[in-house]
Symmetry: C2
Subunit: 394 residues, 2 copies
Amino acid sequence: MAFSFIVRKQDKKTLARLGVITTPHGTIETPAFVPVGTQASVKSLSPDELDTLGVRLFFVNTYHAYLRPGLSVMNKFGGLHKFMGWPGPIITDSGGFQVFSLARPKYTPQDRGEDRPSLVKISEDGVEFRSHWDGSIHMFTAESSMRWQWELGSDIHIAFDDCTSYPATHAQAQKSMERTHRWALRSVLEHKRLGKAYTKRNKPYQALYGVIQGSVYEDLRVASAMFVRGLDVDGIAIGGVSVGETKTEMRDVLSWVSPYLPADKPRHLLGVGEIDDIFTLIEHGMDTFDCVQPTRLARMGRLYVTKGKTHEIDITKKTWEKDTKPIEPGCTCYTCVHFSRSYLHHLFRVRELLAYRLATIHNIHFINTLVLDIRKAIKNGVFLEMKHAWLYNK
Amino acid sequence: MAFSFIVRKQDKKTLARLGVITTPHGTIETPAFVPVGTQASVKSLSPDELDTLGVRLFFVNTYHAYLRPGLSVMNKFGGLHKFMGWPGPIITDSGGFQVFSLARPKYTPQDRGEDRPSLVKISEDGVEFRSHWDGSIHMFTAESSMRWQWELGSDIHIAFDDCTSYPATHAQAQKSMERTHRWALRSVLEHKRLGKAYTKRNKPYQALYGVIQGSVYEDLRVASAMFVRGLDVDGIAIGGVSVGETKTEMRDVLSWVSPYLPADKPRHLLGVGEIDDIFTLIEHGMDTFDCVQPTRLARMGRLYVTKGKTHEIDITKKTWEKDTKPIEPGCTCYTCVHFSRSYLHHLFRVRELLAYRLATIHNIHFINTLVLDIRKAIKNGVFLEMKHAWLYNK
């Protein structure tokens, strides 16, 4: 079995830890930030740039890859690695989150507590939905999600889950969680069955993570953690934390579930990664976390800097028009070494394609450097000190 | 004087020649294709990618740089080189072409023979126009064009010209050409005056090319060539060939003017560069030529290939959906080495930013490789044979 996880060091004062995930396509030192290549591309960047930036794990959305390019193309290439030209580890989600967020209309305050609109039909079997591209009808089930992830060939799969809407009543969250658990059991069975078939065809082993749901309710989150802990899976994912919860709620969820997570399995937090969230989630023992935030902000011209409350500057503002300094003085990313705030301001102002790329390089470099510094701090036993220095003493 | 041109080899059967242009920012082996960075960026590419692709000369439009980022920003950086992070040679145009093409409405058939619409006011002094960004009013004259090009710090400037509209009557073309000649004399005087002032401030020498106009009329083109030949300039540019003339008309213009061009000065053809034009213009003794065509086509998904009448494929077509081959088998560009037609098709289909960049890399690599092969053929005395083999024997 070519998937493993070892904890190299456990922080003494917090749940933060250093680890190494090994997959058939390479290893990932943890904690690690995982950029999202929604449509089989981390927007504007080439795979070799991601590698240079220190990215080791690449997140792709099963929903998007399933619709375009589609599984027949995937089959032709034997999976995402060859298709995208990315030889390193890949993680895919179950498709559930996109089905609920893209295939249904946005929630309005009136939606609170109501059932989901009819664009998505949920049954015990799975979810029927319309493609956001052409309105064609598709069905995702635990079994098809597993099969599609095997076809995509990702190194880490996520069990099919019912992504609880936010906000949700306790009853709704419980119903959604219980369904997630039943789908998890079906996912594990199907994953193992397919694993035997695919490995006979010389596909390398692909790992499966179970998903904890339960919204913002402590009893549900604990029950879900206990349930997923009991599953025969390679790792644990925590879902539903990005769909609307506040930072306090995220912290609460992590503190509720953390005590119940097995120490020897890697933990992935789905869809979170604002700069100050990073310390919180690592402090609660998360090993990997994906988020579109750093790349999305970059394309809006919002660039990370160490100083300031928000840890970002808006490069589109006129303030930067004649500023010859790099985004963050001292930053060693390609963008900061070669270009000024003034040039970036200009590129954004006249909407040049290079703008989005140079900005994305900086934001990923920034977050990866921060996570690397956190790994060093954990190694040296000074995680909390480093966190306080970074967040408050500037 | 840090600008020079030497002819290394003159082809025996045609006017094609090998040369080297030396500028304060480096040398350019000719013939050479010059990509256009309209707004101080070759769309989607970084300067180091251009360098890797073998680009030695970078074309920037004075009109665009003047409006955005503007000269006060340029002044802060001491010119385009530092602003763009491009240490190599730069050529700028006079601004005339953009003033006429961007600041006025598109021509319709009814415009034939009419005077230019009032968005642009032409007088003997220069051209008054409205910015295409915000409608603000600006004035370009021979003197201001020279000053702005000195501020941009390009290695090669172009004299301010009246870009003749197309089609134009003989009388209109003559009037426009004569004005171009008077503006050329003013450009030379101002360029020299400013040169003394700027070199005192330790700016390196910046060269000036005169511009030949005359539309599609042989007598005017010859008269213009004779006139520009007599100017005290470092090189010769041929203008007005891209504004609407057919391929036959371009060939005619080049064959009319070529005999009158001094052998010892470099020649630049403004705004031409379809694949089969390249042989024509090199055959007529052109040394450098800029064109937005390879990069613009790339962003539309039209990618160069050797075979086929049009020398391009449209990667957005469904034909390529499952094609695992590179754009051009055997091509050594980054895109072809790493990615399939299928992946490029996918990126274009879902409008991923990476699409435009990978396509641009391929098209510039393709055209630069072709020009490199042409240089080798000239060196080996087989230019015409190579041309026929490439264009007709496939």
